[in-house]
């Protein structure tokens, strides 16, 4: 699956669309940034409600290609700018993390399961 398909699959709106449309192979759901760094895999989608620019810093370090902000949490402008600078896609959705993770897991299937 490519990042460009996420909007349709997750019914999420893309609020930062200047990204590298990479292949997505996994997802990770967490609001703890250290947890994301420890466990998220490269080329993942990060599902979170942590809407601030430190999330982008963590995504950059872990090669996460897209961040989905759940529960329609407002996204500050400096976060959008940081994502643009790092060419990371940013989505928002009114669905919560559980629902979003479920849909994404269904689409990615077994490729997202831990090795």
């Amino acid at each position: 699956m490519r990042i460009g398909e996420l909007g349709t699959i997750l019914d999420a709106s893309c609020i930062q669309d200047q990204y590298d449309d990479r292949e997505i192979t996994a997802g990770y759901t967490s609001d703890l940034l250290s947890d994301v760094m420890a466990n998220a895999r490269a080329s993942s989608v990060l599902i979170t409600i942590q809407a601030h620019k430190n999330t982008i810093a963590v995504a950059t370090l872990t090669e996460i290609g897209a961040v989905v902000i759940c529960n329609s949490r407002p996204v500050p402008a400096d976060m959008v700018q940081a994502a643009r600078d790092e060419r990371i896609a940013l989505f928002t959705t009114k669905a919560n993390q559980f629902e979003t993770s479920g849909v994404l897991f269904g689409s990615l299937g077994s490729t997202s399961a831990p090795k």
């Binding site: 420890a38 942590q50 430190n54």
Partner: protein
């Protein structure tokens, strides 16, 4: 000469130089709110309220003739003469500063007279400004800030890349989440440019980010020093306190002393130090209460054959 509220014999030369070099005109407010003699005290009170000020000079053209303070207004309200004219109740015997005086005069006057403000006159006795302690604080803060920036530029080692060795020093500040992550982003870029394999770059970046955030969240501020050559990347994080009370507990996953609001930002999960240890080939942590904490992480950039990189976080 009125004494300054500091020991001028032992003060840093810069502070003395500063308060003598700056003139009153450099710190005063020139946007003046003035009243006329035949304005009512009620009008003066309105001026104070609208402009959030506590004193209003009374002027006749460019000449200062008196001053009304919040105190005068309170007395007028209490005494029932708030509709009287300013000229009747204003203070006439005024202590003024001249715009050409050094700032040290202003500070001495503040100390001696305890007034909230001093009108400022030019050489030809025209009212040109007003000085409050707030004006002085702001001016000093800006000047000291400039000076500290200059000193930091001098003291901090310059970036160097010599003989295949790269060295960078970054400083962190308490709760400065705006700039947090800068060091780790740059370290990541440097290693990438050096051609280091992505999973190893990630390990160093994770160590750098966690150590950086630890300083921002828990310390009063500190310094991150990154050194790399062809074989190793080392991050040394030194902070100036307060120190970790129980180093063993701090190394336990899930242990955290972070406050609620820090946690609400996604930090303080109690995973930081364990993350650093996990991605490091060598890791050490020393801390003393009151002195500070030093953490060191070393990652080998070219794992030798036989080593099990799968134990480490490789991002896959």
């Amino acid at each position: 000469m009125i004494p300054l509220p500091l020991n001028t014999e032992e003060s840093p030369a810069y502070i003395l130089e500063l308060i003598y070099r700056l003139k009153i005109r450099n710190v005063m407010t020139t946007r003046l709110i003035v009243a006329a003699r035949d304005d009512t005290l009620r009008h003066v009170q309105k001026l104070m309220k609208e402009n959030a000020i506590t004193g209003v000079p009374v002027a006749e053209g460019p000449r200062l003739v008196g001053l009304l303070s919040m105190d005068d207004i309170i007395r007028a309200l209490d005494g029932g003469y708030i509709d009287d004219l300013a000229g009747k109740w204003m203070t006439r015997n005024l202590i003024v500063l001249e715009d050409d005086m050094p700032l040290s005069f202003g500070i001495s006057y503040m100390e001696k007279y305890r007034f909230g403000r001093f009108p400022v006159l030019s050489k030809n006795k025209e009212l040109v400004g007003i000085v409050t302690s707030r004006d002085i604080i702001v001016a000093l803060l800006l000047e000291i800030n400039n000076e500290m920036e200059r000193i930091e530029r001098e003291v901090l080692p310059r970036p160097e890349t010599a003989g295949g060795r790269t060295r960078r020093v970054y400083s962190t500040r308490r709760f400065d989440f705006e700039n947090a992550g800068r060091a780790s982003s740059e370290i990541k870029r440097l290693l990438k440019e050096q051609g280091v394999a992505a999973p190893i770059v990630r390990r160093v970046s994770v160590a750098a980010y966690e150590l950086e955030m630890n300083q921002v969240v828990h310390s009063v501020g500190g310094r991150i020093t990154f050194t790399s050559d062809a074989d190793t990347a080392e991050i040394v994080a030194v902070d100036m306190g307060p120190g970790i009370e129980n180093v063993e507990a701090a190394m336990e996953e899930g242990f955290s002393t972070a406050t609620e609001w820090i946690r609400s930002l996604g930090f303080g999960a109690g995973m930081g130090l364990t993350n650093v240890k996990r991605v490091s080939d060598e890791f050490s942590l020393e801390s003393r209460i009151g002195a500070g904490t030093t953490a060191r992480s070393l990652v080998r950039l070219r794992p030798s054959v036989g080593e099990q990189p799968s134990k480490k976080d490789t991002g896959d």
